[in-house]
Symmetry: C2
Subunit: 175 residues, 2 copies
């Protein structure tokens, strides 16, 4: 029997830990023999959204595409784990409304922490004005109003964050 698919939608600032948590979730779910697919922001930008920039319109288009693909996968029993900044509430809500099982995971770390991590060196470039429209610096991030889970990655271990998400998946009857 095909199991219940769903969308695990990780949202948060660059450097908040979306990809790290998403990868750990994928491993955990695979260990439970679940069909799972990671839709990572960078991979998506390369494969589905080359040419799009970082204006609100282009970001929304990018996020909508991830939602479209996540929905296709979820319809076939796959847990689609999306890890894209997706800074705007309205578009996240649109995807929620078009999905059956949408679980919003707020990967929450203070801007200062994300900036000090600066894994990809992007904050430095944004501060130097080399990148425009960078979320958290000169472009807004709208925190989720009612996320199903919030992971405080500055205070929790990865395992703790993953555990919280797994618990919610169980509550929703997805595990």
């Amino acid at each position: 029997m095909t199991k219940k698919g769903s969308i695990l939608w990780l949202t948060g600032l660059s450097g908040a830990g979306k990809t790290t948590i998403a990868q750990a979730l994928v491993k955990e779910l695979q260990m439970q023999a679940r069909a799972v697919e990671l839709l990572d922001g960078d991979v998506i930008r390369t494969n589905l959204s080359k040419g799009l920039g970082f204006s609100k319109e282009d970001r929304d288009t990018n996020v909508r595409r991830v939602g479209f693909v996540a929905n296709l996968l979820a319809g076939h029993g796959v847990i689609a784990v999306s890890a894209v900044i997706s800074p705007y509430q309205q578009i996240r809500d649109q995807i929620r409304q078009s999905s059956v099982d949408f679980i919003e995971v707020y990967v929450n770390a203070p801007l200062e922490v994300c900036e000090s991590r600066d894994v990809k060196g992007l904050y430095a470039k944004a501060r130097a004005g080399e990148i425009r429209g960078f979320t958290g610096i000169d472009d807004p991030y709208e925190p989720p109003l009612k996320p199903e889970v919030t992971c405080y990655t500055a205070d929790e271990t990865i395992a703790e964050s993953v555990g919280k998400v797994m618990q919610v998946l169980a509550q929703f009857g997805i595990l």
Copy 2:
């Protein structure tokens, strides 16, 4: 047990019957309780490729995106049925090479037949010069060199065409 996924790649002129055959295939496969997903050209253009035009580069980008999504689905046991014109051999071959089970279905009808059908009224517009770069009129269509199946939709019934594809799916161990 998850069954073997694959990509059924229908290629052919506008009006050749790709969508018709794809829809009939989807029904047939669903009756056999197979997980199947139709990736139709128009739906894809709306959801994944808004903003792209019909230059060679934009067409290739569009086709590559369909291939990316089809591969994601096939990896989870889904038979992804793609119905996009995909006029260029090179890009179809690229997708073939990046896929495990890629079945190229040439939906073949003479240009005159497609033009006389003109389901969407696009040939008339192309002849009137209202649309530029229309495949078969002022943009090339490269017929598949070694398609796994060819459906001659001017001479065969839909059921005959579908039957040929199903036979190949069986030969490939996908059914």
